[in-house]
């Protein structure tokens, strides 16, 4: 009898340790997700402010400036459903930098090179942050599908994270670019 009790108690203890280990893992995943989300938000904010700076720099023609400023403003003021305005900002930027002779016009202009590098860096950071965020979302979603996690409600009341899908490339697909897989404007 006592052996049975000992075995049962031991099993329960092992089970408890295992469940708490799994809970710890899920916790860490949620923390990683939160950090990735914050990084993505920061990258998006930085990109829209660089776009705004570009619009007000006087380097561009008034029509392009207006287009960029409008898209940057919309992206920054969106609270829910940010994917659409952020994609629109990407398209506006692409239209601006993709116009024929854009890079040639800016060469030699003071501040232009610096702003362009800044813009490219900001866009690249959005690309990276989004990739890592979506990676964290995928890992969290797959962990939360596990029966153990569902059975013991290890996720608590946390909402199931959603992927963040936007168009984020400054260069139209298939054109130019090497280095990291984010196509580059410059060399």
């Amino acid at each position: 009898m006592t052996t049975v009790i000992v075995v049962v108690v031991a099993l329960v203890a092992v089970m408890g340790v295992y469940v708490s280990w799994r809970a710890g893992r899920l916790d860490r995943l949620h923390a990683r997700l939160e950090t990735a989300r914050a990084a993505l938000d920061a990258a998006l904010v930085r990109r829209s402010s660089v776009a705004m700076e570009f619009a007000s720099s006087g380097l561009l023609d008034p029509a392009t400036s207006l287009l960029l400023a409008g898209a940057a403003h919309d992206a920054r003021s969106a609270s829910e459903a940010r994917e659409l305005p952020e994609s629109d900002l990407t398209r506006a930027l692409r239209a601006a930098v993709g116009q024929p002779g854009f890079l040639a016009t800016l060469t030699g202009r003071e501040d232009a090179a610096e702003l362009l590098t800044e813009l490219e860096g900001a866009a690249h950071q959005v690309f990276l942050a989004r990739k890592f965020y979506n990676d964290a979302v995928a890992a969290t979603r797959s962990a939360r599908r596990r029966w153990l996690v569902r059975l013991f409600h290890l996720a608590g009341g946390a909402a199931l994270p959603e992927f963040f899908e936007i168009d984020d490339s400054l260069v139209a697909p298939g054109q130019g670019g090497h280095g990291a897989d984010m196509p580059r404007l410059t060399s």
């Binding site: 942050a129 990739k131 890992a139 990291a180």
Partner: protein, 375 residues
Amino acid sequence: MKIGLVCPYSWDVPGGVQEHIRGLAEALLELGHQVSVISPADDDTPLPDYVVPAGRAVPVPYNGAVARMAFGFLSASRVRRWVRDGGFDVLHVHEPTAPSLSLLACWVADGPIVATFHTANPRSRILHAAQPILQPALEKISGRIAVSEAARTTLVEHLGGDAVLIPNGIAVRRFEKADPLPGWPGPGGALGFVGRIDEPRKGLQVMMRAFEILGAQRPGVRLLIAGPGDAEEALEGLPAGLLPRIVLLGQVSEEDKIRVYHSVDVFCAPNTGGESFGYVLAEAMAASAPIVASDLEAFRRVLRAGAAGELFEPGSAAGLAAAAGRLLDQPALRVSLSAAAAAAVRAYDWPVVARDVLAVYAAVVPGAGHVAVAR
């Protein structure tokens, strides 16, 4: 920024991953960051001052080759101490799917972790079977980097998730200038091969069969081979008349390897597979060598689809002989390929690549706290 790099393979044994970590560490140091590398190494091995030894490495079969790695409780405790004392802003592990220090580092550390995946192995049963064991460690990685499209595909197929592509870097400056070895390339034309001669995937057998074809056609052509392995086995079955025209250097020093690239008219990379980037190829490009290479996906990308080097069907000795013969016959083609190779390799220069890696750090570090020992 304080950066901790984890090297899975023995520091004192030449290899692509070790070379990658050395180049990255030195470029990051040059950019003003603090860098510490932990690596398997014997305690009496002379090491650069940024490398911390984690103990003797044991040769183990992994991914179809023999690698020297450190693992087990002793290594784990050294890694734990290194993480605790390091105070790193970011931990960057390499090849965390190997049974190695990198996997141990993922286990013992918490905080922002970046991982680089080097291996391309589409048929890896190990990875698939080991997925449940690897998962808890891999879950901690906030930013994943793959060195090639093939490595990324392997990662996505076996482990899920995604990775950003940052190609290998190369310290171009080190390779640009060197004197040819005495007597090379010589008037009859010279072919070159660098790599393990007993590792079938490096393709020495293809090289030898191609040289049989070329040697019969051209009485003066010679073959220069640098790389460790059993020489007798490599020369087996070749016509005796050809042997005096093949020079096997065995394992050579780094300086001599660079001189080998400068000693040949055509550099051959007849690899049959398993390459995710091709260090040797990029080194030859940095040395402005005219190149003939297998049409592997990774090589095709590095060589700009053939613009920076001739491609031939992998495994085809006749293809290699034809392409190498074409280059031997056309000095002008060699000159233009050599210039194209030197230009294409600029995209892989370490200072350029290190900035891409820093952008990955910048994406995972803010708000994630410091790297610490896991509770």
